[in-house]
Symmetry: C2
Subunit: 449 residues, 2 copies
Amino acid sequence: MFRSVAEPIGPPAAGAGRSSLGFWPMSTSLFTDHYELTMLAAALRDGTADRPCVFEVFARRLPEGRRYGVVAGTGRLLDAIEAFRFGEAELELLERTDVVDRATLDWLADYRFTGDVDGYPEGELYFPGSPILSVRAPFGVGVVLETLALSILNHDSAIASAAARMVGAANGRRMIEMGSRRTHEDAAVASARAAYLAGFTATSNLEAARRHGIPTAGTCAHAFTLLHDSEEEAFRSQVEALGAGTTLLVDTYDITNGIKTAVEIAGPALGAIRIDSGDLGVLARQARDQLDSLGARNTRIVVSGDLDEYSIAALRAEPVDAYGVGTSVVTGSGAPTAGMVYKLVEVDGRPVAKRSSHKESRGGRKSALRRHKDTGTALEEVVHPVAESVELGPHDRVLPVPLMRGGQRVEGLDTLAESRERLRAALVSVPWEGLKLSRGEPAIPTTFL
Amino acid sequence: MFRSVAEPIGPPAAGAGRSSLGFWPMSTSLFTDHYELTMLAAALRDGTADRPCVFEVFARRLPEGRRYGVVAGTGRLLDAIEAFRFGEAELELLERTDVVDRATLDWLADYRFTGDVDGYPEGELYFPGSPILSVRAPFGVGVVLETLALSILNHDSAIASAAARMVGAANGRRMIEMGSRRTHEDAAVASARAAYLAGFTATSNLEAARRHGIPTAGTCAHAFTLLHDSEEEAFRSQVEALGAGTTLLVDTYDITNGIKTAVEIAGPALGAIRIDSGDLGVLARQARDQLDSLGARNTRIVVSGDLDEYSIAALRAEPVDAYGVGTSVVTGSGAPTAGMVYKLVEVDGRPVAKRSSHKESRGGRKSALRRHKDTGTALEEVVHPVAESVELGPHDRVLPVPLMRGGQRVEGLDTLAESRERLRAALVSVPWEGLKLSRGEPAIPTTFL
């Protein structure tokens, strides 16, 4: 059921199409709000576009009742920044629609990101106020990345944060992400990546295998059974094509008959059965008994059908070997966006912050560390001005790492596999209350120095 | 504030990149679940891949409490079907990861969609069970489109359905979609399109202007004010660059001071002010009074900041001229996916349907019509077997239209502007209870013949 790809394929090199058949018209530079470019135009005109600035990405709060967030998308963002160029096609659109003036078009034609970026590595936990990304660049160079940075980080972190809760609920059992059909076609690829980062075993999405090297899984849908004149014929065909190790979907007609037929045809070496509807706990127990009685003791049971972290947890005591999860993971299980913002916090070395009403921000460039007990359990997230040195205890950990320097990606950044491992280790350090699925406060408090 | 593009730019021609800078590695064929291809492989092997089939897309129910759904994405889907080809890069991935056998790879290399497609046009309303899309093709040709069709229709319809409620709540006032930063970067482009289809006036998303010809809007964020040494300098710079007709964001520091400064600098010809935080109703009234007292009687008031259909409706009595809407529209306002399914309903001319437990389906190829009173008010959605002729009253309307014939797109399909108009007209026909924002039953019942 699980197939691995030999090696991941990275993002496309700029200027090089991979498919022999079709292309999207893409640099990433128009994944941008109109106002980023009008701000740039005004700032170029009055000379402030060159002022050295610091922008920070953070979330004011976690989605309601969530205990932690998972940083995801940073790797995709670095790719997207490298592809943030204004070519002829992009400039033509901006000129034709009169978004900005000629001087700004000329400036954009030469645009390359030249700044420095630090941030929490992918797979790191975050809490309210954590400085997840810090961009240091002249105003014009940094401001135009706002929309793209937030799109990627908000989406991918929302999916990874939901997925991590599901992986926790599954308690070590296999998890297959199969939600592509429930989200935008390209968001589906990013969702597969985020879910895998969070500990899912595989995805149904083939483009995610190509783009990110994620293992894919899948065998048959109900349509395949309905296509055939009988369930028996469908199963026989599937086993002949995919081998006895395949997963047979047994709930098209009657599950008990389906399991009987499945084992008759595939033999006790049948890889797995899948149940996609009904009371999954009851059905899994019945199926396990029936499989065992038929001698198919090693045949696994896969369940799917509107699962979320709560229903996964509710199946903990049942003989379920793997979960297929769709809608809930790709929609962030009630929190489809992470709510991060990209704020200007420093201009020319002095802190700046919005002051009106309830959306107050903290000015100044910040760093953060996480304090831990001797036992390794996390105690608090400490967010502090970079200028202010903070004593680091033996179990404490500085959270941001360098990601880009002078517009170049830092060497040796984490692979997706390393990010998976980072998250696994970070979750081990969370106090046990923080791993509960029920609504509550963040697992650790954030202290602002 | 609003800028129009001269003409929409269509989707990229297969094989032709538009940007001089970068490409995504794309045909659309890997936006596909692994199991679609393993089903295909088994069906090719046993000969059933050639059986004539009908697949139908429908929603078993509307999102909880919603009164109607809006069909969106059909145009994007037709583009995506035309780009559904397996080139060298796609075949290489499938071979390397051992997803399917050689015979299946050879079949895929020649894949072109050759079937017929009918469906509800974009902008049409749908209800539980409405046959939104019907695909008639040999099993192998039709089954591989399942994931892609559902990704596009589920996403775009979810956004359009939420957006239509917001447009209704705004009661004719301008609506700007500015949610790109709260959703995946490419989903943002589709969201802008869906919101525009549903009646939004403009989007912040520049790629949506390029790809779909949607008007874009935007001026400045708080960062622009913070960049400058004073609000006054920021406003002066913006007015010099963008003219007095621009929109000044007045809530960075103190709103009353902000408005005073704005009118001092731009004069009474100031286009608009924007308020992005606080109690928007109270602030809009105060701002209107202040603007009027300063002689800026034609200066409009734009509000933004976590608006959804309910808060938009709550501002109906306030002097608000335009709404900027972000998170809620791009996340479907609580319903981020439309929950449509793609089901095999007919094989070799005979109806087929899953029979187990609670996910029952209705077999057989279906059509639908909407019955209306003499007054034009919709009465019911009638879903019937295509084989069965149904009498059409003088005010009734057949809903599905031909979209593709023999793999070719039907000529003269609706433009995006026509889809907008279709939705506007369809909403006029909905009984008044069905336009309420509160939770309730579908606006009209679905009758299955």
